[in-house]
């Protein structure tokens, strides 16, 4: 017998939803996935009509799905936003140059303007140069600080009011955990906020705050979105790795753990 979708009871269920363990069909999955993000945007008053919004695009799954969702919801619910893509070129040969190709393809598929800012032109240092200088230890710290500023400067060049990033629930839960482990109470307080304003007064927000990483992958998979999926060649941070593995284990024990961490 064919298992029917737990929501519409009409079509065949083809996936088990990571967040709720419901077995549902593709159409219902798209509906709940998109509606939850719409709710997050509406309930937190992320945008005003007429806002110019830049989507921080790396070419990875999160930002590709974000670009797709923002465009879809903007049209469906008539947010009246002026969207564009903003990418940062860290100058990592064999990683960023390839992923930027994906972003360029996305630009054409979604018909959005694209701006690329590079470390080379902003700071006269590419990540390749930095790694040559400082080695593989702590290079992520440079990159993180540079990227934050690069996004702000890119946003100013584009003349936008708002940047949206693809941080998902897993990322935020991981950060919460990290801040508890490091004893950073001040950051712990700030890290779950959905909107933050940097020095440049450009708002940053995370529409995927309550969206599970797995569901983003599912969405990209079913929608056959074109994204780039290689880890950065300059390796992820070790201590965060502990937290990440632990979090995945937690999710296996109880999926709501990811959302639970964000419950303020």
């Amino acid at each position: 017998m064919v298992k029917l979708c737990g929501i519409c009871e009409n079509e065949r269920a083809i996936l088990k939803r990571p967040k709720t363990a419901q077995q549902i069909c593709k159409t219902c999955f798209y509906h709940v996935f998109e509606t939850e993000i719409h709710h997050t945007i509406i309930d937190n008053n992320l945008f005003k009509r007429g806002d110019r919004v830049a989507i921080a695009a790396s070419g990875g799954k999160d930002s590709t799905v974000l670009a797709h969702i923002m465009k879809t919801l903007n049209e469906r619910h008539n947010y009246g936003l002026d969207l564009s893509l903003l990418s940062v070129d860290e100058g990592i040969t064999g990683y960023r140059d390839d992923s930027l190709e994906t972003v360029k393809r996305n630009q054409q598929q979604y018909e959005l303007p694209l701006k690329i800012v590079s470390y080379q032109e902003l700071y006269n240092w590419s990540m390749d140069d930095i790694v040559k200088e400082v080695g593989l230890k702590n290079n992520c710290t440079f990159c993180g600080v540079f990227r934050r500023q690069a996004l702000d400067r890119g946003a100013v060049m584009l003349g936008v009011d708002h940047i949206v990033t693809g941080h998902n629930a897993d990322d935020i839960a991981e950060t919460v955990l990290m801040n508890i482990l490091r004893g950073d109470v001040a950051r712990l307080q700030r890290c779950t906020e959905i909107v933050t304003a940097g020095e440049s007064m450009i708002r940053r927000s995370k529409p995927f705050k309550y969206t599970y990483e797995k569901e983003i992958v599912m969405y990209a998979y079913f929608k056959k979105l074109d994204y780039f999926s290689t880890e950065c060649i300059y390796s992820p941070n070790a201590y965060r790795g502990h937290a990440r593995i632990f979090l995945k284990d937690l999710e296996a024990v109880r999926p709501s753990a990811i959302i639970g961490k964000q419950f303020p």
Binding site: E36, V176, Y210, F246, V253, G260, F263, P264
Partner: protein, 500 residues
């Protein structure tokens, strides 16, 4: 509470420094984090930590008559705590002008053996013999966990309704509980199940280790608070060690209990239980230090490691298990029988393939536990917290509108006719409710836990009457308010209530 699963590591790595860092004369015998101590300096520091916490807190009052209830599981931490407290209370006979710190200390032990069925021997008799033998002056109260189903655990003393699960399994969004008369639960009315059977049925109806563990700690705390009130105690001492609190901090956060977390891991909590101060005087000691203290004081023989229901469950059994690290029953049975030497026990733990998190991290980064505990102690509860709005199950404050929040970020329905109803209606129930909605009487953490419960038809399980009483009292208050303004309400405005 002093759980038995605190990792106790008696044998430490070889000290790098030969002399004690405190007195700088005696050779060192123990390493705590990065510091090496000789025996007498270690004991001095350890006792000092305990006394500082008590003296800095508000538990010692100027006026006479504060009684302490000491939660005593028999495990390493509570054993050490009992020793420390009775020493602190002791006054040398010639110091006649001195007054005892507390007017009395009552020891309370909860026997949990009912959770493991018939074959498991109760701990009550053993613990009572130990305590009465070594501390004949201190009153001892022994209760069984299943007693929580008794009528005297309710405020009225005779409450005859229970809360049971009626909803569907995981994923169903309707909150699955209802209030029913007590006897309706048992399959045949003339055969009333014993409290022990009810307790086991309740735990069996929970499908996940995490939910069981949660319930277990709520019941224990409820019993302790109840006993403390009955015995006229205004102070409750729990034996949570630093290691334990670090584990709790992370696991409570993951369970969605961040809202009440500051109260759950506080050194001193004077707000969450009216008329009582909860103190955790062991919170600055690592489990390892407790183990060393017990060994130095010759207390190890009287440490009783009871079976815990997480015993023998692998590292993925529940959130707390996972957070603690990979201890399996093997290690603990070895501990219990004492056949395994400390060092080899350590090796057993460390070689386990399961994910060990806190304990593992603390091994590699020895300040992990203290960082987490210090972070947690800096947290304060939200100003908007309403302590009167307490969860009926865990007695912790409830954060408001959790249900709406969850509905908004987890959509589980599609609008039946997508044109007429906007997506917002997804937050509203589609079908009219048969039973009143009791969700608001439970905190978010308990709501999540309750979704792991199987329906009552399969299990016959129900929560103890105290939960039902709290729910019912709250419901009646709302009903009373409604009655007062009844004359001014238009009929069809509140259909659901009108039909009842």
């Amino acid at each position: 509470m002093c759980d038995v699963d605190d990792p106790v590591m008696v044998a430490g790595p070889k000290p790098t420094q030969k002399t004690c860092i405190k007195c700088k004369t005696s050779p060192s015998v123990v390493v705590v984090r990065h510091a090496t101590y000789c025996k007498s300096c270690f004991l001095f520091t350890f006792v000092g930590k305990f006394r500082t916490i008590i003296m800095k807190s508000k538990v010692v009052s100027q006026k006479e008559g504060e009684r302490v209830l000491l939660a005593f599981s028999g495990g390493p931490s509570s054993r050490a705590m009992l020793h420390l407290l009775s020493d602190f209370q002791y006054i040398v006979p010639h110091e006649t002008s001195k007054r005892q710190l507390f007017s009395g200390v009552t020891i309370c032990h909860i026997d949990e053996s009912a959770l493991f069925g018939q074959e498991e021997q109760g701990t009550l008799a053993r613990i009572e013999a130990i305590v009465r033998g070594q501390y004949p002056d201190l009153p001892f109260v022994g209760v069984r966990m299943e007693d929580v189903f008794g009528p005297n655990y309710t405020d009225s003393g005779a409450f005859d309704r229970v809360v049971e699960a009626v909803g569907g399994p995981v994923g169903a969004d309707e909150f699955p509980i209802r209030l029913t008369p007590l006897n309706a639960v048992s399959p045949s009315p003339d055969l009333t199940p014993s409290n022990a059977t009810r307790l086991t049925a309740l735990f069996d109806s929970l499908t996940t280790g995490t939910a069981k563990e949660d319930l277990y700690s709520h019941l224990k705390l409820t019993i302790l608070i109840h006993v403390a009130r009955r015995e006229g105690c205004t102070r409750l001492f729990l034996g949570d060690t630093s290691t334990r609190l670090a584990i709790k901090t992370i696991s409570l956060t993951a369970k969605g209990r961040g809202y009440s977390l500051p109260l759950d891991v506080a050194t001193e909590d004077a707000v969450s239980v009216p008329g009582m101060i909860v103190l955790r005087p062991m919170k600055d000691m690592l489990s390892k230090e407790v183990g060393v203290y017990n060994r130095f004081r010759g207390l190890e023989a009287s440490v009783v490691v009871a079976k815990n229901f997480a015993t023998g469950v692998g590292g993925r059994g529940s959130i707390e298990r996972l957070t603690e690290g990979g201890f399996t029953g093997e290690g603990w049975n070895g501990m219990k029988t004492g056949h395994v030497q400390p060092r080899s026990l350590l090796v057993t733990w460390l070689s386990l393939p399961t994910a060990e998190f806190i304990v593992g991290l603390d091994r590699d980064f020895p300040s992990t536990v203290s960082t987490i505990t210090r972070t947690a102690s800096k947290l304060t509860h939200a100003e908007s917290m309403n302590l009167e709005q307490a969860c009926a199950l865990c007695l912790k404050p409830i954060q408001l509108s959790t249900k709406e929040w969850r509905h908004r970020i987890t959509v589980v329905t599609v609008p039946s006719s997508s044109t007429s109803s906007p997506p917002r209606s997804a937050a509203l129930p589609i079908e009219p409710r048969m039973t009143p909605d009791l969700t608001d009487h439970f905190c978010y953490g308990c709501q999540v836990g309750l979704r792991d419960m199987r329906r009552v038809e399969c299990t016959g399980a129900a929560f103890p009457p105290y939960v039902a009483e709290r729910v019912a009292t709250r419901e009646e208050r709302v009903e009373g308010l409604r009655k007062q303004i009844e004359g001014f309400l238009l009929e069809d405005e509140d259909n659901g209530k009108g039909e009842r």
